[in-house]
């Protein structure tokens, strides 16, 4: 009877295997079904503006004083819930003004003409081609989008501020405090930031997605032009073709996407 015991054990083993496999197969089958019902389509809005490399041209000849730039700064800061902190050390800015001497510190200044010397220059994130902030970010919270916009994922920012040290243009601000109490008028359609994250201009990615031009461009009365730097027929390229324009600190090789017609 030895051989029959052996047989019995074999059969028992195989059946146990079969019984054990059934629930596993069931789960696999169920998860397969699950996948098919829960992968709905995700797409871009049909009005979304797209480009290979977004860029901005600022015509400084049309600017006379700080007053001309205020509406653009206000438009931006208002829709993006940028807080107004009095303490300069805590200041948050997406778009601001800078003197030529400071904004364009690598340019000849001593004998620059009087107009340029005293003109306020509108400064913002340059959305660089080789952005230093993107390279240093340890969590990939700052990244470069396909359309050239250097964007921040606030969900992933750990507030290490490497990007602030890396950015040669001072485009980034850190939230040392909870910004909410310092926002005069909250725009409910755009999130605020929380304490401990870095923030900066986003080239109005949320507006481009619904077919609108950036807020500052809209408020600029033609001082600012926004378009695709990769498209030879775009407005920005036409302006750059016919006017002499400079960029901030070009020798650093960052490749800024904001141009200034002098």
């Amino acid at each position: 009877m030895k051989s029959s015991r052996r047989k019995f054990l074999k059969i028992a083993g195989v059946s146990a295997l079969g019984l054990g496999a059934k629930p596993v197969l069931d789960v696999l089958a169920a998860s397969g079904e699950h996948e098919t019902t829960s992968t709905p389509e995700i797409k871009k809005g049909k009005d979304a503006l797209t480009a290979k490399r977004w860029a901005m041209v600022i015509d400084t000849r049309k600017i006379e004083s700080e007053e001309d730039l205020k509406p653009m700064i206000e438009a931006c800061h208002k829709i993006h819930n940028v807080p107004d902190l009095e303490n300069k050390n805590h200041e948050i800015k997406w778009i601001w003004t800078e003197e030529f001497q400071h904004g364009f510190s690598t340019q000849e200044y001593e004998f620059a003409d009087e107009r340029v010397k005293h003109l306020p220059f509108l400064t913002l994130c340059n959305h660089c081609e080789n952005a230093a902030c993107v390279r240093v970010c340890p969590t990939k919270a700052t990244f470069k989008r396909e359309d050239g916009i250097v964007l921040m994922d606030f969900h992933r920012c750990i507030g290490c501020r490497f990007c602030m040290a890396a950015c040669p243009y001072g485009s980034r601000s850190f939230n040392f405090r909870d910004p909410r109490p310092f926002i005069k008028e909250t725009n409910p359609e755009f999130p605020t930031r929380s304490k401990g994250v870095v923030e900066k201009c986003n080239f109005c990615a949320e507006r481009l997605a619904v077919g609108k031009m950036p807020a500052c461009v809209e408020a600029s009365n033609g001082v600012l032009t926004f378009g695709d730097l990769d498209d030879p027929e775009s407005e920005v390229r036409k302006l750059l073709k016919t006017n002499y324009a400079i960029r901030r600190k070009p020798a650093l090789g960052a490749g800024p996407s904001v141009f200034y017609i002098i």
């Binding site: 829960s38 709905p40 989008r145 990615a205």
Partner: protein, 134 residues
């Protein structure tokens, strides 16, 4: 032959053990039958009128956090902001502008369950509840 199985101070040890067991299980039997009932989130009128969510109710109940995670990544990273739900309807992928537009009562809808389950998602540190903003 000596008897090794003797417990010294048997009475004391058993009494001590009993006290120990009672003390350690105290939270369990003390709260027996007092469990807080699972909250029933209140569906706002606007959500009721809409009849359907982006996905079926059962899916949303279990998977809404995964869905929101997916939303935030595709919106921020891939610049894709339109979600075609289970019924073929298109939605703007936005917590404040889409979810809270229907589920107008955040306190009665989101917070109720989150508090019960003792989870504190940090969504609201940045995303705005239009009601609280006012």
């Amino acid at each position: 032959m000596t008897n090794n199985k003797k417990i010294y101070d048997k009475g004391m040890v058993i009494v001590g053990l009993c006290i120990f067991v009672v003390v350690i299980t105290f939270p369990f039997w003390f709260n027996l039958g007092n469990a807080a009932p699972a909250p029933e989130p209140k569906i706002a009128d606007k959500a009721k009128a809409a009849k359907e969510c982006v996905m079926p109710k059962e899916y949303m109940k279990i998977e809404h956090m995964q869905l929101l995670n997916e939303w935030r990544d595709t919106v921020v990273r891939d610049a894709k902001r339109i979600y075609v739900g289970s019924s073929g309807k298109e939605f703007n992928m936005s917590l404040t502008n889409t979810c809270l537009d229907c589920h107008t009562e955040k306190a009665e809808f989101c917070d109720k369950c989150h508090n019960y389950a003792s989870v504190s998602p940090y969504c609201w540190e940045c995303h705005i509840d239009p009601k609280e903003a006012k």
